[in-house]
Amino acid sequence: MNKFSKLILALIVSMVIASSQVFGGELDIKGSTTVLPIAQKAAEAYMAQNPGVKISLSGGGSGNGIKAIIDGTADIGNASRFIKQKEVNLAGSKNVYPVPFRIALDAIVPIVNSQNKVKDLTRAQLKDIYLGKIKDWKEVGGTPGKIIVISRDSSSGTFGVWKELVMEKDRVIPSALTVPSNGGVVQAVTTTPGAIGYVGLGYLNHDIKAVKVDGIEGSEANTLNGSFPISRGLFMFTKGWPEGEIMDFISFILSRKGQDLVKEAGSIPLF
């Protein structure tokens, strides 16, 4: 039996290798900038394995990625959110059936200065802080002092998740500092005692303190079991069930090696 399964495995592997040499096409990937680093790493590794395949990547945001699938201007559309009902209807009217593949997970963790005594905030408190309703740390059980709200530029993917999962429909106060990168948020929170910010899970370090959300610590395990509230799936959409090199590329990302690349790109692998 063991021998038999090995044989089958060898057959599959040789078929994959053989078929990948047959593929000589081009892959067009568009969409979310959050997924872009993953797609970039995966594309580089995949092209090294399959010299015949050319992959072109571009950003443009989740909405553009899904739109590109519906219009047929890309083979794979990246999105850092699930497809919206409006987009499903649009696809239906054009007789397109978008197929989602969840390829990775992403968690956004609120952080404060290491001297801050606050350990746990509810999502409602986080929202009120970012709305400017809670202005002082003493209102959430910390030592009195002005809360310095640090946010990301409105076009960043991280801001997108924060807005969707914490702010819901409301606007972050205009007086919030905006910083152009995850690293910049860490830097600003490290040097500002009263600051609060949020970063992707991969950016946590010892200079800053991660805050629990609704009592749950932001970690890989809690994201995978679905209990950490500020997390989301990252998706690749295809037009109909994928075939040929599109399928092959997606299987590659969902393989062990692909998932290792997901981790390298700073997101959370599915397994």
Binding site: T33, G59, G60, G61, G63, N64, G145, K146, I148, D153, S154, S155, S156, R171, I173, P174, S175, A176, L177, T178, V179, P180, Q187, A188, T191, T192, G194, A195
Partner: protein, 295 residues
């Protein structure tokens, strides 16, 4: 005959080269307007310039840039308040008071400061100056208008100083000596003769220094804090115009409203520098000294 042909050839070559650079610049300007104007199909110019809220990716969107304009204006004024006295006084010292040996050492150092890349100054402001002024003034956050202005002043001083120094240095000796001959002290001569005589050059220096400050991107992106609100004090974070363009352009979907709005910000910035330069031109003509005796 042959010499004349060569001469004509040289003329037309130089004309072509000159036309090429002018054409390139005008095409950039045309492009700026083509990409920026479509936003005014969505909102009026008044709403754009005087709108208080900048939420370009929200639903519904808000494209008001008043806070960004004021951010730019305040940062420029504040940095001017720091850089102009410093720059001009250094120039007076170097041209009039310093012994030649000291001037020989100090002047190249000041000019070297102008060549520090702005990203280095921005990084310095973010990592060193921000925590420092935060502790010094006991304020909640170090990334603010004051920090950015200080860094911009740092960049404007070399420009202001070196151009003013040239202007002061070129005041004719005869004018200076006449003042001494009338019994004026050295200080009186500097204040009442030399500075008025070199005012045209000093004005140009100030405007050039400040236009560097208003267009500077990296420093304000890194050190100003980036909050799109109308600042209430020196220590509030601000988000000047160039910082918004730099931070958001990479992520704005091609030819979207947001993209056009960022180009429209570019137009506003362009108009600012244009007004600045016209003003500089006017001033340098107004205070121009013609001949040695026209003071």
């Amino acid at each position: 005959m042959k010499r004349q042909i060569i001469d004509k050839g040289v003329h037309s070559t130089f004309l072509l080269i000159a036309l090429f650079s002018i054409a390139a610049l005008s095409l950039i300007m045309v492009f700026l307007f083509i990409e920026g104007i479509p936003i005014f199909d969505q909102i009026t110019i008044k709403e754009f310039v005087f709108g208080q809220y900048w939420y370009p990716t929200d639903d519904p969107t808000a494209f008001g840039i008043l806070a960004l304009i004021l951010g730019s204006v305040y940062v420029t004024i504040l940095s001017g308040m720091m850089a102009i006295p410093l720059g001009i006084m250094t120039a007076v010292y170097l041209a009039e008071i310093a012994p030649p040996k000291v001037a020989e050492i100090v002047k190249p150092i000041v000019e070297l400061m102008a060549s520090i890349p702005s990203v280095v100054i921005g990084f310095f402001g973010m990592v060193i100056v921000a925590p420092f002024i935060q502790k010094l003034f006991n304020i909640p956050v170090g990334l603010n208008m004051f920090n950015a202005s200080l860094m911009l002043a740092f960049m404007a001083v070399p420009t202001i100083c070196s151009i003013s120094e040239d202007a002061i240095f070129s005041v004719p000796v005869a004018v200076k000596e006449a003042s001494f001959a009338l019994g004026a002290t050295h200080f009186e001569t500097i204040a009442k003769v030399i500075i008025p005589a070199s005012l045209s050059g000093i004005c140009t220096a100030i405007i050039l220094g400040l236009s560097r400050a208003i267009g500077e991107t990296m420093v304000v992106l890194m050190a100003a804090g980036g909050a799109a609100m109308i600042p209430g004090s020196f220590f509030d974070p601000v988000r000047p115009l160039p910082a918004s363009i730099a931070a958001e352009m990479a992520e704005a979907p091609f030819r979207s409203e947001h993209y056009h709005a960022l180009f429209a910000i570019g137009i506003v910035l362009f108009l600012f520098t244009l007004i600045f330069n016209l003003f500089a031109d006017y001033l340098s003509h107004k205070f121009r000294q013609v001949g040695e005796a026209s003071l």
